[in-house]
Structure formats: structure tokens, C-alpha cells
């Protein structure tokens, strides 16, 4: 593909121009304790045009927020309900390839079948600018092995690949193409040596990494061949802190509750997840799987087995955030090795 090129200075100009075209410009910035986190850098904070590592949370937090109002309620019994629409236009800048893949999986999940209106609202007005990775972000990430990085294959509107003298630029959608045409004065055609350099950087990325045979893994899990001791160990290690489901870029589960003030209020949804015992507890107290290890098993099976069958790829994108955050040292990466190695007869 004929890639474009932009200098670091012109990228600054490009970003400043783009900021004026949207309501919120979600980009990475240095925050508390040197963390890199996404925030609305149009209105607060200083954007990092390029950065090492990954953001502490994925853009999921802006598309499926921790709590989100579904609609307003006026009057208790027989009251009126009206949707709350989020029509803000957002440009996401500096999204990593792993999170880009996560976004395309989440988009399919929420928009296929019965459409999730609040998610659709936000996606319709969102633009994604992906920033490919030059080197592995942490020893816990395994994007190369699971196939989500270091460059995004799809799911972005524009993708940037940092090289020494600037950035290679490609569009991944009609929307991205239109933006690049609009600001075409800022871009020039890349040279063969630029392309060569980018290829070398990407080739050097995690040289030792061997692809995970995730189809075989999914089969092992589907046929229930993982040794019980592997699940037992995970069950003992989990302290139900819910860190994993909070940082995971593809966790989509939620609960719904009403927040009332007298006879008016809102119905909100909030992020929820399988580690909690109450997640599957029914009215009356019955629970289909009372053992805690089965709750984490549900998490792993969803990411590594069910979604391979549904989408052709695992919905664990190898970002390593859950491994980083787990106080019990549960590692989905280690689980993959254990599962592949410890197949019971």
C-alpha cells in the first residue's frame, strides 16, 4: 500500500487542527504517578503525540463507562421515560493496536443482533487514530503471540507508525481517508527507505515471540480438557478484586439499577463481571455454579474459547493489563501455556 508520511511538527499541527473539529479529543497524557492515561486533551492536559508503553486503561472507559445513564424517569408508577443521547463527537488518538482490535470486537458485540443504542450513539461519532508500537510495552503483554500487534490490521480510521524522521500514515476507513484528504497539505508520500525502516522496527518487535495456536487452545477448552488443578489454582489465587474485568479492553458485562430522588431519577448501567458471586445469583438465591474457580473459568472461556468460535479470534488481545493488575498473580498468559501443556486424558 502506498503510505503517506508526516513529520513530527506537522503531526502537531494536524492534531491541533483535529481538536477543533470535535467535542472531545481523547488522547494519552502523563498523569498521576507518571501513568499514561486517556483523557480529553482538548480541554485538559497535554497530549503525548508518541509514547512508550500503553495507557493504564483502554478507550473502553469512554464507550462503556463505569456507570452510564440509559434513560430518565419522571414520576414513579406509570412515569415517563426518555432516552439520554450522547451525540458528542470524539476523536481517539494514540490507541494501541491491541486496543484497536478490542474496539472492533466490542463494536461487533454491541451492534450485532439487537443494537445497543448507547454504544451505537458513541461509535457513530467516534474516530480512531491508532499508534503502532515500536517496542513491547511491558513484559506482560503478548500481542505478537496472540496476533493483535504491534500493528493494527483493521478497526482504525487512521494508523500512524513512528519511524526516525516522523510517522508513516495509512487510512483504514472511508472516514479516515476523508480526513487525510482534507489535510493533504500536511502529508507527503513516504520514501522506500521509510517503508524499509518501519518494516525493520516491526520485525525487531518481540523477535522471539511464537504465535499462540489459539484455535487449538479453544478446542482444548471447549472439550473441557484443561486439568482441574489449573482451575483450582486460579480459584485459590483470585481475591475477587475485579481488577481484571475493570482493565480488560473487551469486558462488556454490566448490571442495571435505578437511582431515584423522590419520584424522578435515572436508570443506569454499570460495569459488572463474572468474578463476583452475585453475578449469576438468581432471585431466590440459586446459583448455577457456586464454586469460585468456575467464575474465573467463565472469564477465560469467554475470551479464549467462545469468542474464537464466534469471531474467529480470541477476545483476549494480549494487552497484559489483567496480569499487571492481579494481586494474586493470576496470568492469562501462563494459563494459556498451562492449558496447552496440561491436557487431561
Amino acid at each position: 500500500m502506498n503510505k503517506l508520511f508526516i513529520t513530527h511538527e506537522d503531526l502537531k499541527t494536524f492534531v491541533e487542527a483535529l481538536k477543533k473539529t470535535c467535542d472531545e479529543f481523547i488522547g494519552p497524557s502523563r498523569q498521576h504517578l507518571n501513568d499514561i492515561a486517556f483523557g480529553d486533551v482538548k480541554n485538559d492536559g497535554e497530549i503525548l503525540l508518541n509514547y512508550d508503553g500503553n495507557t493504564i486503561l483502554s478507550p473502553r472507559t469512554f464507550l462503556l463507562p463505569q456507570t452510564e445513564t440509559l434513560f430518565e424517569i419522571k414520576g414513579s408508577i406509570g412515569g415517563k421515560v426518555s432516552s439520554i443521547e450522547d451525540k458528542k463527537s470524539r476523536i481517539f488518538y494514540g490507541v494501541r493496536p491491541c486496543d484497536t482490535l478490542a474496539l472492533s470486537l466490542m463494536r461487533r458485540f454491541f451492534l450485532e443482533g439487537i443494537v445497543d443504542r448507547p454504544y451505537q450513539d458513541k461509535m457513530e461519532n467516534a474516530t480512531f487514530i491508532t499508534l503502532a508500537c515500536a517496542k513491547p510495552c511491558s513484559e506482560r503483554s503478548f500481542c505478537r503471540e496472540i496476533g493483535s500487534g504491534p500493528v493494527a490490521k483493521k478497526g482504525f480510521d487512521i494508523q500512524l507508525v513512528a519511524i526516525n524522521r516522523g510517522y508513516l500514515v495509512e487510512s483504514g476507513s472511508k472516514k479516515g481517508g476523508a480526513i487525510l484528504r482534507k489535510y493533504k497539505k500536511l502529508f507527503i508520500v513516504s520514501t522506500p527507505s521509510d517503508i524499509k525502516e518501519s518494516k525493520r522496527i516491526l520485525k525487531d518487535f518481540a523477535k522471539e515471540a511464537k504465535p499462540i495456536n489459539y484455535k487449538r487452545l479453544a478446542g482444548i477448552m471447549r472439550d473441557d480438557l484443561v486439568k482441574e488443578s489449573v482451575w483450582d489454582d486460579i480459584g485459590l489465587r483470585c481475591v475477587i478484586c475485579s481488577g481484571c474485568i475493570t482493565v480488560c479492553p473487551t469486558c462488556s458485562c454490566f448490571s442495571v439499577t435505578d437511582r431515584m430522588n423522590g419520584t424522578s431519577g435515572v436508570r443506569v448501567r454499570y460495569c459488572d463481571g463474572c468474578p463476583y458471586a452475585g453475578f449469576t445469583r438468581m432471585a431466590g438465591g440459586a446459583m448455577p455454579k457456586p464454586d469460585h474457580k468456575d467464575h474465573i473459568r467463565r472469564f477465560f472461556e469467554h475470551k479464549l474459547n467462545v469468542d474464537v468460535e464466534r469471531y474467529g479470534v480470541p477476545s483476549c488481545v494480549g494487552c497484559g493489563r489483567c496480569i499487571e493488575t492481579c494481586p494474586g498473580n493470576i496470568s492469562i498468559r501462563k494459563f494459556i501455556d498451562d492449558a496447552m501443556a496440561s491436557v487431561k486424558k
Partner: protein, 283 residues
């Protein structure tokens, strides 16, 4: 007026539509049957088929899934049965006739109505598990000639816990039909069978080959009853259970009811035993 067409607006699936409670019947000590009539324009709720469910919404209390417990009447009314088990059902029990509830749906799959034509059918229900099966039972009796022999096994804790008492008695009047009742804790008035639903299985006079079975009840009942009916020669693919799981959205998004790749709300709630085996569950 703009000349440009505006983009087609997506329906907000999470917005409930109002229905009025027209009648409240005290079914048992802790259960009521409510007759509802949708009153909001654009309500899709009456399109339901036997086996489906809806989300019932009460401002301030949230939502919960309920199965349709009857066929819709010609004038657009239907029933739900509600057992008092938590804060939401307590709030539903506190409502009076003419009060309003919100509804979303219908959701979920239907019982395989075309497959069961001309077939023998066995229903096995426990407690309030009779409610999800009732629309199907009403359907087969409404179209009696198009179905084979019908037997209904219904078990409850005590005689006072039996749902739809008068209607169940009227089911006995149908040709080539048998209704068997059993209770765990008989009282003085009870001269019928005692014990779990499985004790009634030897009484059935219906040829299992090609027959269909529909079950709903407590998990343990479904599990044990399936074990026993398989021994009688019913086919795994012809045994359907209406399953219960915790649900928050009803539309396959919230993740609570998910079991090994299936969403009980959108792929179910009615699963054949062959499907259940693939999902690794027995109830």
C-alpha cells in the same frame, strides 16, 4: 424542513413501554397472577409466542425477566405470575389494579411449535415452573386435533402451592389427555400422589418414541426428571427445558445469563437436552 433524509433512528431497546394491570389474582400464599394490557403506542409485546419472556420494569426498582404465563387474549391481554422472592417482586406484589408497569420484549426463543404437531407431548412442571409452560399447554389444547396424546405432570410442595387450580382441572376434560399431580407435603384434603415429579413417570401412557417433553421447574427437578425420562426412551433432542438464569438486559448484552457461548436470553430460554449437554449444564 431540511431536504436531506435524516438517518434512520435506532430503536432504543432499553426503553420500556407501559402496560396497565387489569386484574390481580392471589395464586398461592406467595404468588400472584397479574393480567396486563399494553397501553403504549408502538408496543411490540403482543407479538410473543409460547416460550418467550419479557422484561418487567418498575421505576426505582429496576427490571426483571418474566415469562408470559398465558396466551394473549383476543382483546390484547396476557398474564404473568410473580412469586415474591426479592425486592423487585415485593414491589410488584404491592401494586394494585389499574397501576402501570413498564414492559420490554418479547425476548428469547419460542417452543418448537411446528415440530410438535401430531406428536405426543409430555409436560413436567414443578412449582411456579408451570407458568412458562402454560402458554404452550393452552396452545396445544386450543389446537387439540393437531397434537397426539398429552400428559401433564405437575409437582408442588403442598396442595396450597398449586398454581392455576381451576384451569388445571379443566385440562382434564380434553380428549386423550391425562393430568397427574403430586405434592411433597400433603395435607388432610390431599388424596393424590406424594413425592417428587419422577414418582409419576411410571403412570404415563404415552409412547416415548418421537414424543416431545417440556420441562420447567427447580434445577434439581429438571436434572432428575431428565435422567429418568431418558431411561424411558425419550430422545435427547426432543426434550426441552425452559431455563432460568440471572438476567439484566434480555437482549444478549449484559452477560449475566451467558453459559458457554450461549445467551439464555437470546439463544434460549428454551433449550433441548442435546443443546444443554453441549453447554455443559443439566438444569
Amino acid at each position: 424542513m431540511g431536504s436531506k433524509m435524516t438517518a434512520k433512528k435506532t430503536m432504543d431497546e432499553y426503553l420500556p413501554k407501559n402496560a396497565v394491570i387489569e386484574e390481580i389474582l392471589q395464586e398461592t400464599a406467595d404468588s400472584k397472577t397479574l393480567t396486563l394490557r399494553p397501553i403504549d403506542k408502538g408496543s411490540t409485546i403482543l407479538k410473543y409466542r409460547p416460550g418467550q419472556f419479557m422484561m418487567v420494569s418498575l421505576p426505582g426498582y429496576g427490571e426483571a425477566p418474566f415469562t408470559f404465563a398465558s396466551l394473549a387474549s383476543r382483546d390484547g391481554r396476557f398474564q404473568i405470575s410473580v412469586r415474591k422472592v426479592g425486592s423487585f417482586t415485593n414491589a410488584l406484589h404491592a401494586l394494585k389494579e389499574r397501576d402501570i408497569v413498564g414492559l420490554r420484549g418479547p425476548y428469547g426463543n419460542t417452543f418448537p411449535l411446528s415440530k410438535i404437531e401430531n406428536k405426543n407431548i409430555l409436560f413436567i412442571a414443578g412449582g411456579c415452573g408451570i407458568a412458562p409452560l402454560r402458554p404452550l399447554i393452552q396452545h396445544v389444547f386450543k389446537n387439540r386435533k393437531e397434537h397426539g396424546r398429552i400428559e401433564i405432570i405437575y409437582g408442588c410442595r403442598a396442595p396450597r402451592d398449586i398454581f392455576y387450580k381451576n384451569e388445571i382441572e379443566s385440562w382434564r376434560n380434553n380428549p386423550d389427555t391425562a393430568v397427574h399431580l403430586t405434592v411433597d407435603e400433603p395435607d388432610q384434603s390431599w388424596d393424590g400422589t406424594c413425592g417428587v415429579v419422577c414418582v409419576l413417570l411410571p403412570k404415563i401412557k404415552l409412547v416415548p418414541k418421537n414424543a416431545f417433553v417440556f420441562l420447567c421447574g427447580p434445577g434439581i427437578m429438571i436434572k432428575l426428571a431428565i435422567q429418568d425420562i431418558l431411561k424411558l426412551g425419550f430422545k435427547e433432542g426432543n426434550i426441552y427445558a425452559s431455563l432460568e438464569r440471572h438476567m439484566k438486559c434480555g437482549v444478549g448484552k449484559c452477560g449475566h445469563c451467558y453459559v458457554k457461548g450461549k445467551y439464555v436470553c437470546t439463544d434460549g430460554p428454551n433449550f433441548s437436552y442435546s443443546e444443554m449437554k453441549k453447554m455443559g449444564i443439566d438444569s
